[in-house]
Amino acid sequence: MAVIALRMLFGDRAKYLGLIFGVAFSTLLIAQQGGLFVGLMLRTASVIDDAQEVNIWVMDPQADYIDTVRALRDTELPRVRGVPGVDWAVPLFKTTLALKTLEGHIENALMLGIDDASLIGAPSRFLQGSLEDLRRPDAIAIDEAGYLRLWPGETPHLGRELELNDHRAVIAAITDASAAFTANIIMHAPYSRAISYAPQGRNQLSFILARSAPGLDAATVARAITARTGLQALTSADFRWKTINFFLTHTGIPISFGTVIVLGIVVGIAIVGLTFNIFVAENLRQYGALKAMGLSDLGLVGLVLIQACVVGFIGYSLGMGAAAFFFSFATKGELRGFYLPDWVAIGVAGMVAFIMLMATLASLRRVLVLDPAIVFRS
């Protein structure tokens, strides 16, 4: 019977293509928007993700997420270092500042000041130069996408000069830093130099980055830091989710993307549901003939479900292929960091199954109540 189901489906080419298009379009819309949404949310925590040696972030008790910087007193750093279970702790300065190229191009950039001595907090991957190059006078590191934003079309190279709040800076390294949510250019410099680029304030210590001693649980050590210092200490994973959750609950991003995704589902159900319904309605006489000849209701349901599954599978595959094609271009430059996670693809498969189920239910009812005597009516 599967052969009959497929031949019936493929035989009506116009509706078959309409069904495939409906499912593929919905899949593309949901997967593309879902992937963009996930990528955007991951960008909010990219600074946390890039500091891979760190497993505890210490901050002001009122800090909600990575971008609410409430500077700590410098004296907090030794207090954190003194908490039992802390292997090491280093300062992190984080600010947004204006930069100017010698050609006069002005941009805002995210400046991260990392520990002078250990240089902990920098991205793990350097495309040109090295971490140690940051120790040279006026040296900063810039991410490749940021470089290309400042000098489009140019092959990135070291030695370029910049003005940071009227201070000279020289590009000594090019990193592969993850794209940030709030800035298109990400720079790293030793802590003391980064502070000198920024407008002066009494306290400059944005975060304290720490690592629990070997064998100790980071969450336990974080709780100990909070208990001893009164500061907010979170594991990297917890701070990451706290940051993402802040954007989820305090911005319109989820509603915006969610609306498009819901529209994708609704459009999918509408297009696929209507087309499938018409397909079944036009084939009722054929289903009726099969029913008259002794095909059971279960067999008829199987026939329709096979047709729905094939449409769903092919449409999903095409839509997911188109989404993957989109994201293959979205992995470079300023669009880097956007990708199609496995779990999004699986989630979209679930949604397509839901669309097909909704589209099939109405049609199945028609088939189940079908009077086989329909075949005797002219």
């Binding site: 052969v3 009959i4 006489r285 099969l290 008259a292 002794g294 086989p372 005797f376």
Partner: protein, 233 residues
């Protein structure tokens, strides 16, 4: 004597209240094996309703219908489905061939429904189709065939699983006179066996000569039964 089809007091109504239509009003009809019986009468007289009830596609409100000894009016839906699959062959007015399937595949459907493999079912269908003069069209699609050829495919589909009861609804209505006569001749020749029976609903009086008996219906009742053959024959 045991009849191939034995209807007693069959009643069937549709609708309710002011729209109530009594399609069958106590119909009794006996059909013998080895005979071709025609149900004739004006439109709306209940011919097709009676045919549907005999073919276990419709449950009457009252009365009994026995087909080769089995009371189809007492069967549950699942049993009726199995009964139709094993015992009944159909030839429809509009053929109802599946346009996406080839001639052979269409003709083999009843065997596939009976659980036979595609190869086995197609082989049996081909033998019958060749016998019906469609040997050159086995792999073509129904839309490539003339009306007469399509009806022959439908006849092959109705007979391929050797059903004991063949029911035909206006089998010549979509055919010209010549093709209609040929289709009926074919059906008589192929379907009629001593242990089988054929019931044909028709408006086409040009094919009455192919019937062994003709039951005239009016207003949901059988008003007359004419035998075309001598009882001794």
């Amino acid at each position: 004597m045991a009849y191939a089809v034995d209807c007693e007091g069959v009643e069937k109504s549709f609708g309710a209240g002011e729209t109530l239509t009594r399609a069958l009003r106590g119909v009794s009809l006996q059909v013998r094996a080895g005979e071709l019986t025609m149900l004739v009468g004006p439109s709306g007289c209940g011919k097709t309703t009676l045919l549907s009830a005999i073919a276990a596609m419709l449950t009457p409100d009252a009365g009994t219908i026995r087909v080769f000894g089995e009371d189809v009016t007492r069967m549950r839906a699942g049993a009726r489905t199995l009964f139709r699959r094993a015992t009944v062959g159909f030839v429809f007015q509009q053929f109802n061939l599946l346009p996406a399937l080839t001639v052979t595949e269409n003709a083999s459907i009843p065997l596939r429904l009976a659980g036979r493999s595609a190869g086995e079912a197609n082989r049996a269908a081909r033998v019958l189709l060749e016998r019906l003069g469609l040997g050159e069209h086995l792999d073509r699609f129904p839309t490539d065939l003339s009306g007469g050829q399509q009806q022959r495919v439908a006849i092959a589909r109705g007979l391929v699983h050797a059903p004991r009861l063949l029911v035909c609804d206006e089998p010549t209505a979509s055919l010209d006179a010549e093709n209609g006569q040929a289709a009926m001749a074919l059906m008589r020749e192929t379907a009629l066996q001593p242990d089988r029976t054929v019931i044909v609903v028709t408006h086409d009086d040009r094919i009455h000569r192919f019937a062994d008996r003709i039951a005239h219906m009016a207003d949901g009742r059988i008003v007359d039964i004419i035998s075309n053959r001598s009882e001794a024959a």
